[in-house]
């Protein structure tokens, strides 16, 4: 197990190095930030001075070497635009993103798991049909459209929830619903299919024969075993929420990490894009590692195979 873990950690570090290298070179292909920082009437001299000040006049390999060296000592650089440390910007936005991600995930699991379970138990019934419609709608409605509809209905027509921005708990409801609906539908489908498989197994039949209460059979013996793929999926989804909620963040004017990265791409703020992607890839790879470990913990077969 120890060797396996060390191997996975090394893999993770290597993957991150590849990611930051790709991002470093790709961002530099997208245009020069100095052209946005200066007015179009600026002289060539102004241009040169700013390029020098930002270290962009150095050859690309030199810039890359400086960048990697700084990262190794925990220095992510300063924003081209604000000249403030990049870490400050990331920390400023991370709470909003985490807050939205947690609530959306919580809603997804709260809706998706019980609905998926009972949909499997009452296969072919009204509840199952309703749940399947819910799942199809959730996976086919674009979050952009859903977000706007929710804003119009709850914010404009009913006037009970704020239409955008970050504030108190009420501000969280609509973006979390938008983000969570898609994933709750996916979790529902996954739970349903896993439960269908589990419900047909011998140990469930045996548990029923033993005379256990149906709820105990379903929750303790059924769901616990069906949750393995769901947990894996949910962890990876949560990590995706942290960086991939750009659409939801844009529609709801939510000041999260995804929007920060998107805006930094448009303003060519390389250090923020690089650090943002680094944070997200670190989260993603760590999430992956965590899932692998969880898998081997939950499923003895995997543990033994790796051993």
């Amino acid at each position: 197990m120890g060797r396996y873990l060390i191997g996975r950690v090394l893999q993770t570090v290597l993957s991150m190095l590849v990611v930051i290298s790709i991002v470093f070179f790709l961002t530099r292909l997208s245009g020069n930030p100095v052209n946005l920082l200066l007015d179009v009437n600026a002289t060539q001299r102004d241009h040169e001075i700013l390029m020098h000040h930002l270290g962009l006049d150095q050859p690309l390999p030199v810039q890359y070497a400086i960048y990697v060296k700084n990262i190794l000592v925990g220095d992510f650089g300063t924003s081209v635009l604000t000249r403030r440390p990049v870490t400050e910007h990331i920390w400023e936005r991370l709470p909003a993103t985490a807050e939205l991600g947690f609530v959306a995930m919580f809603l997804s699991v709260l809706i998706g798991v019980p609905l998926g379970m009972y949909s499997a138990v009452r296969r072919g019934g009204m509840l199952d049909s309703g749940a399947r419609v819910f799942a199809v709608l959730g996976q086919s409605m674009p979050p952009f459209w859903l977000g706007l509809m929710l804003i119009l209905f709850f914010g404009v027509v009913l006037g009970v929830l704020p239409a955008g921005g970050r504030g108190g708990p009420l501000h969280l409801i609509l973006p979390a619903l938008t983000l969570g609906y898609f994933t709750s539908a996916a979790i529902l489908r996954l739970t349903r299919s896993a439960m269908l498989e589990v419900l047909g197994s011998d140990y469930i039949k045996f548990a029923r024969l033993k005379g256990l209460h149906e709820q105990v059979v379903l929750w303790k013996h059924g769901l616990k075993n069906a949750l393995l793929p769901v947990v894996t999926f949910a962890v990876m989804l949560f990590v995706q929420f942290l960086g991939g909620a750009v659409v939801t963040e844009t529609v709801f004017a939510w000041p999260g990490l995804g929007r920060l990265i998107l805006e930094s791409i448009t303003t060519r703020d390389y250090p923020i894009v690089q650090a943002g992607v680094l944070v997200l890839s670190a989260l993603y790879l760590t999430g992956n590692l965590f899932v692998d470990m969880l898998y081997s913990y939950l499923n003895p077969k995997i543990r033994h195979a790796r051993a």
Binding site: P33, V40, L50, R84, P162, A163, V251, R259
Partner: protein, 532 residues
């Protein structure tokens, strides 16, 4: 100078009355404003190019302002001023007792410091070229500063003017910036405006608080919050739901806003929309003689440009792309009410595709030619790619083969600087950054300026040379009306579309809002009243 002084005295008196009346009703409540962009989100004089006008104007103040009806300069931080030596010397007499947000008094040293910062090497300020023409500055006493130029700078007052878009020579505190350093001043910036800085979360919000008993105008709202909401549908929903009180919105949404009963305020003639035809710079290394509209045969080139104008239905573009919010015009960088505009100049080039096709055939392009239309969005002018697309479609009707090139502003800014867009067209909306068209074109078409944006011509240089040293406003009006205007109309530098308005959506909290005609972007926040 007597008349401006009299007007100045009137404005001072009016300002005092406003201050007195405001003292009775202290600021209350929050005004939340949703805008598409904050610009570069910088706070120091050499770091903001100009697009930040909307979010910085509540906080900063210029030396002067202007009467929007007459265009005359009026006092602001400077209570009076004197122009001598044919425009080579400007002396500003500062108002006493004006305080920065940290309580220190504004002095002439602060003015000198700010102007030096704007002009410094590497400055991002759009005013840098003009401020670099300053020969020296002399602080005569704590409240008097004299600015000297080698050549006359007859419109320097327009560069230090609160009443114009992107004129952002806001006076900064020398002592404060030197004590907290640039980094500290960027984190907690101070100026002298009616709103003081509270918080800035990049890409999300800027929060201001009213300065009570401000020397000029105590705001009606206690807090002013700018939210960056890039999605227009969200801005509209926020306004309707009461999450925002003012929203920035494009003309294409005007019908929708009216349909749902949202109150709108029109800001008339805020930008001048035209199609830049790149490559009209015969003396520069990137000149390409094969570009039809810039070919060495000047008359043939002019006819090509005229044909490209005749091919386009400007009225239809105004109606469909800008929601009817604008006026199709033929005169260059002029607005319908300008004193240098005549009925003949205002008339748009007619829509006559048959004549356009015939003209092209006459100058050797019976089957049209290939060209590129860049589709680039500019802050606050999101309609420009649509205008470019519409013009490209009109051109195709007369036989041109137009390649569309969606290109980011950052990429195209580099093309601008390098003049590497010969043969490329681009829809552009010039904001009214200076009241007289030659001032705008000084930056866009004057060979001896720092950079030329889209054209050059010795005749045009002559106009600029004469206008830039002409101290008489009346004579400048005459030159623009009787000489430069007709010449530009005949020369056809690009495809003229016309003057575009902008609209603002406002919620029920907003009462009166006196806007300056021709000023692009939101402004005058301190005068926005609370609805009763």
């Amino acid at each position: 100078m007597r008349r401006p002084l009299r007007i100045g005295a009137l404005i001072v008196t009016a300002s005092l009355l406003v201050v007195t009346s405001e003292a009775a009703t202290p600021p209350e409540g929050t005004l939340t404003v949703a805008v598409a962009t904050f610009g570069n989100e910088r706070w120091l004089p050499h770091l903001y190019p100009g697009a930040e006008d909307v979010v910085l104007k509540p906080w900063g103040e210029n030396l002067l302002s202007r009467d929007p009806r007459t265009g005359e300069l009026s006092p602001m931080l400077a209570e009076r001023w004197k122009v001598a030596d044919g425009g080579r010397t400007w002396t500003f007499y500062l108002r006493k007792g004006v305080r920065f947000h940290n309580g220190t008094e504004l002095t002439a040293e602060d003015v000198k410091f700010t102007f030096t910062q704007i002009a410094r090497e590497g400055s991002a300020s759009s005013l840098a070229p003009e401020f670099r023409l300053i020969k020296n500055m002399e602080v005569e006493d704590p409240h008097t500063i004299t600015v000297r130029f080698d050549k006359p700078s007859v419109v320097f007052g327009n560069k230090v003017n609160q009443g114009l878009f992107a004129s952002m020579a806001f006076i900064h505190s020398k002592r404060y910036i030197e004590s907290v350093k640039e980094e500290g001043a960027e984190r907690h910036p101070i100026a002298t405006g009616p709103f003081r800085f509270v918080e800035h979360v990049r890409g999300d919000r800027i929060v201001y608080e009213a300065v009570e008993n401000h020397w000029r105008a105590t705001p009606h709202f206690k807090r002013l919050v700018f939210l960056k909401v890039p999605e227009p549908s969200t801005r509209m929903a926020m306004l309707r739901a009461g999450s925002a009180d003012v929203i920035e919105i494009g003309g294409e949404y005007v019908d929708e806003l009216k349909k749902v009963g949202v109150r709108t305020i029109t800001m008339p003639n805020v930008s001048w929309v035209y199609i830049i035809l790149g490559g009209q710079w015969p003396t520069k290394p990137t000149y390409d003689p094969k570009v039809p509209w810039a070919q060495p045969d000047a008359e043939k080139a002019r006819k090509v440009r005229l044909a490209l104008n005749l091919a386009v239905d400007k009225q239809a573009i105004m109606q469909r792309m800008l929601g009817g919010l604008g006026t199709a015009l033929g005169s260059w960088l002029s607005y319908p009410a300008d004193a240098w505009n005549t009925e003949a100049l205002k008339k748009p080039y007619p829509y006559d595709p048959a004549k356009a096709k015939a003209l092209l055939a006459e100058v050797g392009y019976p089957n049209g030619f290939e060209t590129t239309m860049n589709l680039t969005a500019w802050p606050g002018r999101g309609y420009l790619p649509d205008v470019g697309e519409a013009v490209a479609t009109y051109w195709e009707k007369i036989g041109l083969r137009v390649k569309r090139r969606p290109v980011d502003r950052a990429v195209f800014s580099a093309d601008f600087r390098a003049r590497s867009y010969s043969g490329v067209a681009l829809a552009y909306g010039a904001p009214l950054v200076a009241p007289e068209p030659w001032e705008v074109m000084y930056r866009a078409g004057y060979t001896r300026a720092a950079l030329c944006l889209f054209m050059e011509h010795p005749r045009f240089d002559e106009f600029i040379d004469r206008l830039s040293i002409q101290p008489s406003h009346q004579e400048r009006v005459r030159i623009m009306r009787d000489e430069m205007g007709p010449w530009l109309y005949d020369h056809v530098p690009g495809v003229a579309i016309g003057a575009a308005h902008a609209i603002v959506g406002v919620g029920p909290k907003v009462g009166e809002w006196p806007l300056i005609p021709g000023h692009m972007g939101f402004h005058n926040w301190e005068y926005v009243t609370r609805a009763r």
